[in-house]
Amino acid sequence: MKKKEEQINNVLKKPVGIIYRWLGDRIFLSAAVILGLSIIFLSLSMAWVLYGEGSLSFGEFGFWGFLRGTTWDPGIQLIFGALPFIFGTIVTSVAALLIAFFPAMAIGIFIAEYAPRWLGNIIENLVHLIAAIPSVVIGIWGIFVFAPWMREKVYLPVFNWAAEHYPSLLPVLGNPMGYGMASAIIILALMIIPYTTALTRDAIRQVPKEQREAAWALGATRWEVIRMAVIPYARGGILAGAILSFGRAIGETMAVAMLIGNKNNFPFSIMGPAATMPSVIINEFREAVGSLHLSSLMAIGFVLFVISLIVNLLAAYITRKLSISGGQVA
């Protein structure tokens, strides 16, 4: 026994052993730490770079002046204000979330509570499929099928009806050409459904059995069990899902840029063209020549970064507090 110990000690004392064990562990951990740090560095550099590149514009108009400015004129006056795009982003995202929230939650409840296993699996995979379809593919369908259809079947009839009965509504409704805020909102609503649904389902699956059984024992119907015992318990997860959906809506770029019509200045109307922060960057960045124009687009990127940061941290806070694993839809 003693001999063995000595042997082991000899091995450990051997320089090769030390290099193999001690140095190997050091190198491995340092490599992991450096790679981890690079992610942190990447995120910080994103904030720093966007602010730095946008500083020319912030300097010209002032930080708040840039946020409050309502004119975006890269052609003649060279005045840049971000308010139309901030407004466009917030309105489309909030409206899309309002439309998407209840159906998305309903699907989550349906999958977790009512659907037989095979049907639940199919629906779940289909909902994940919505998140998997590239945004440009939804966009091309929107341009060639959805927008023209909405123009013929919805916008024009509404517009004509309003023109006959309530002409004062027309400026609110806007140009019924099909490419505009309403179309973008509807597509956006469809695209953000998977995130709320996934977290709703996860949260419902975590509700303890006793919670349900107590409600069943009171003689509740199935819906009453869900309403009394399940939803209150899963509230946090559902809320986190809604916030994540909202975050996706804010950053959604291609489908919105293809459908919203891209009009850079107020006033925006319901059916008429508008713009969001990502859509204006996509549309103008490639053609931007003036350095002030380029800088203003970067500054919009910085504003988008800040808003998105707040939304994400909020979602992270809620999920962490309720220890829900999730947010990954794949």
Partner: protein
Amino acid sequence: MRSIPENKTLFQRRLWDRFMVGLLLLSTILVMVPLLIIIGYVIVNGISALNWEFFTEELGSPARAMQGRPTGLIHTILGTAVVDLIALIIAAPVGLGAGILLSEYPDHKLNPPLRIINDTLNGMPAILKGLLAFALIVKPMGTFSGLAGGFALAFVMIPIIARSTESALMNIPWSIREAGLAIGLPRWRVVLSTVMPAARTGLVTGFLIAFARAAGEAAPLMFTSFGNNYLPRHWTGMILGPVDTLPQRLYSLAISPYKEWHAMGWAAGIVLLVFVITLFITARFLTRVKKED
């Protein structure tokens, strides 16, 4: 606190129950229908626009399509492969390293901020990752390039890979690590030789999902790899010069004023859709196989 309504008869309550089921079912159908319509349209329009030239010719000028000469997107398909692979090569070590740190060194001081920042980076709009790559790569290089596009997509992949690596490694029970340590292996050998092989399927699934997510992104590529109507003369042009990618080309075709290009846009749509969905289905299939083990 809600309670069972006492002023209603059992019949009313059951009726309400049925009504709510109907409502849930209705919302589910309401969402499934547009999804199936979109996929149906892309398949029908895409297949009718696909032909042999699509996979063998380059795009060229709009005149080429309007005069009916053969055009295709071979340069786009090759470009997509190059840019996506560059992205994977950049993102894989970073994501793996961070994932290993998060799961194998659970007490490391860096972990709590890293986890939050990684999740936040994952939720950041992809277009911002494109702007970052523009400022970090395109500006110093002085030209749009496949390399810049690769970096932009790598920024999309990294947080996804880090997160999936973490959860894949976490799924391996600690007893496996303890067994390795007990036979005298140093920690790094335990991770590389026992934990990672055991978590193989989970790791590959994470890579596939990250790859699929990035492959569908157009926004970060618009001002990094930029796009190109022709095949570069030399293969290095794919890396160092502006290069075409499927999502970005699909957008350009769709907003172009030419009818012939719209048809090609649908064709690009079905290629992209099939590619991305195949990756996702493979990833799903792998997780399922693993669960049955």
